[in-house]
């Protein structure tokens, strides 16, 4: 489970002054459900997910992942999550096998557990054909599969996806979205950020609309439709943002 309580991140910029990238965000994601964070570029999605992944430290507020506090137990939090974003690249000079193995080892897995887990993952994701090829020689789709294997190698109960389909072609994006759906089906807690309305509409059990660092509305798609009085998510999003502006 993921729970954020008044999560806030403030940056100080010499030119722009104080920037509240994430401003008192509250939400809760349950296991087996996909929670979507919907917002335009610069809305605060990435900062919010980086706070949950303990890559950044919040200015105030709190959050827990799988029962672990992001402030006091960051290492346990990172052990419980699989974090995938457009910014999480692969080591180009290592093979797909070596990358997945490295992260398995960083998660404290020994050979006895790691090898069968990797074999199973490579089989499921269809990676055996390119597992010994260097990552800088892989196609975008192959790289994304390797990234997925990297996030799943330690079988985390919580998955965090930050715009995972950004810049991907249709076929690769479809594979990634299918994988996110599969995570939800397998009982994992999934949080997924996107600015693509169609993806959120298709995948998410509940959606939060984030803008200017604040969550303006959240609930299931049906609840959001009812509240906004419009059918399409894009219309809901625009209406919500305009109302709050």
């Amino acid at each position: 489970m993921i729970e954020a309580r008044q999560l806030t991140k403030v940056y100080h910029d010499r030119k722009r002054g104080q920037i509240r990238a994430v401003d008192g965000v509250n939400f809760r994601c349950e296991p087996g459900r996909i929670f979507g964070l919907l917002g335009v570029n610069g809305a605060g999605k990435t900062t919010c997910l980086r706070l949950l992944a303990t890559i950044l430290r919040p200015t105030s507020g709190a959050a827990s992942i799988n029962g672990f506090d992001i402030l006091t137990e960051p290492e346990q939090v990172r052990s419980s999550i699989g974090f995938l974003s457009t910014a999480t690249a692969l080591y180009g000079r290592l093979t797909a096998f070596e990358v997945v193995e490295y992260f398995g080892r960083l998660h404290g897995m020994d050979d006895r557990i790691l090898r069968p887990r990797m074999d199973a993952l490579f089989q499921t994701l269809g990676m055996n054909e390119f597992r010994d090829r260097r990552c800088d020689k892989l196609s975008t789709g192959m790289k994304q599969k390797t990234s997925i294997a990297r996030t799943l190698v330690h079988d985390p109960p919580v998955m965090i996806f930050d715009e995972p389909t950004l810049g991907l072609d249709v076929l690769t994006a479809r594979t990634v979205l299918g994988f996110i759906q599969e995570c939800g089906r397998r009982g994992k807690t999934v949080i997924f950020s996107t600015h693509a309305m169609s993806e959120a509409e298709r995948l998410c059990d509940s959606i939060a609309i984030i803008h200017g660092g604040r969550i303006l509305a959240d609930g299931t798609l049906a609840q959001l439709r009812k509240r906004a009085g419009v059918e399409h998510l894009e219309d809901i999003f625009i209406k919500t943002v305009e109302e709050q502006a």
Partner: protein, 401 residues
């Protein structure tokens, strides 16, 4: 502290780095091939320039051009100067000062008209040598001219004494003899002490720069830093793994440079070296190498910290290249004659190690000096590692745009 994650990071980073051809160039090719070629080339050209000997005694090709001013009434002295065949003698001209300044001739020698007669008549007279002070070839030519006239003066004194049946010892009542009391190990150590610390420090830092940039700013640029930060490994362990990789590369580069330069010098000058009473003290060399370890940790950690601070590999390079110069200057200062160890200098990084290595290689083991330098350098190395770890925990540095 759990060392396993550090070992995992170390193995991965080393493997990753050694697959990069640019790293191979900086770790192996530069110290083993480029540096020896540059050093030997510089020695060769310097040697060639210093020789200044005529390549052909008949045509005087390559001999320094010297203008003869006067000397008409002194055929004996002029003939002796010509017989020497060390100088390409040119007839006198009134603009000899311009010719020397423009390096058309290297020097001019003025022989008074009645010079030979004055010498025979035991009257006081003088030879004047015109030079371009500060111009090496002119200075060298002037010295050769001075040596010639000094030798000629001694010969004349000896002849005059003989003519008067007086002993030669009247002109030279005693001789001055110099004897080396230093052992061959000390002689070699004193020579090596001027070169080796400089080479070791320069190569330690040169070897650290590329990997430090690649593992920090390079990782930021490639987007793998965020991937790494999402792993449960504590950040301090991630940095320590990286520092150890840079340290390994840095020490390897220095070791390869010393070995290849030593080998190149021996092969290129085997004849000359064989004549010198050289003998290297392995204990002193081992001591100097051990003293390099805290310095290499210090330099590796500083390079990592600077690399972390930089936004890009290019920016990191801009910061680290001057650092190379900054580290080399104290090493050069330490090699200068007269600069010797004292406890005040024991706390200046790089200079302290250079001076101590100079002492150790010369065979002087002052344990107080060793403790002061090792202690201060270990302190600085610890501070540098702590700074690198602290920077790696600062998100304003990691996500600096």
């Amino acid at each position: 502290m759990n060392l396993r994650p550090i070992a995992i990071v170390y193995r991965k980073e080393l493997r990753d780095l050694l697959r990069d051809w640019r790293a191979i160039v900086s770790i192996i090719i530069v110290p083993t091939l480029v540096v020896p070629v540059v050093i030997l080339g510089a020695i060769h050209f310097a040697g060639q320039a210093m020789k200044e000997a005529p390549k052909n005694n008949l045509t005087m090709e390559g001999a320094p051009k010297v203008m003869l001013l006067g000397g008409e009434g002194s055929p004996e002295t002029v003939a002796a100067l010509r017989r020497l065949k060390k100088f390409d003698l040119a007839p006198g001209s009134s603009d000899f000062t311009n010719l020397i300044s423009n390096k058309k001739i290297r020097a001019a020698v003025e022989i008074p008209k009645d010079f030979d007669a004055a010498v025979e008549g035991e009257r006081k007279t003088a030879i004047r040598i015109y030079t371009y002070d500060g111009e090496p070839k002119s200075m060298q030519t002037a010295q050769q001219l001075q040596d010639f006239f000094q030798h000629r003066r001694e010969e004349m004194v000896r002849r005059h004494l003989l003519e008067r049946m007086l002993p030669e010892t009247l002109a030279t009542p005693f001789e001055i003899q110099r004897a080396n009391v230093a052992s061959p190990k000390q002689v070699s150590g004193a020579l090596l002490g001027m070169i080796l610390p400089y080479l070791m420090i320069a190569m330690c830092l040169a070897g650290a720069i590329y990997p430090a940039i690649d593992l920090t700013a390079g990782e930021k640029e490639r987007g793998t830093l965020e991937t790494l930060l999402s792993s449960p490994t504590p950040r301090a362990h991630l940095v320590l793994g990286k520092v150890l990789v840079v340290l390994t590369i840095s020490l390897t580069t220095a070791a390869l440079a010393i070995f290849s330069n030593g080998l190149a010098l021996v092969l290129a000058h085997s004849g000359k070296l064989a004549k010198m009473p050289l003998a290297l003290d392995p204990l002193a060399l081992a001591g100097a190498c051990v003293m390099m370890i805290p310095l290499a940790v210090f330099l590796s950690s500083v390079a990592i910290a600077v690399g972390l601070f930089a936004r890009s590999a290019k920016e990191a390079g801009t910061y680290l290249q001057p650092m190379l110069l900054l580290a080399i200057i104290p090493a050069i200062v330490a090699a200068l004659p007269g600069v010797e160890f004292n406890y005040g200098l024991a706390f200046i990084p790089v200079l302290n190690i250079s001076l101590l290595c100079k002492e150790l290689l010369a065979g002087a083991w002052h344990w107080g000096h060793v403790a002061a330098v090792f202690g201060s350098m270990t302190f600085y190395a610890t501070l540098a590692v702590a700074a690198a770890v602290a920077l790696f925990k600062r998100e304003s540095v990691l996500f600096r745009t």
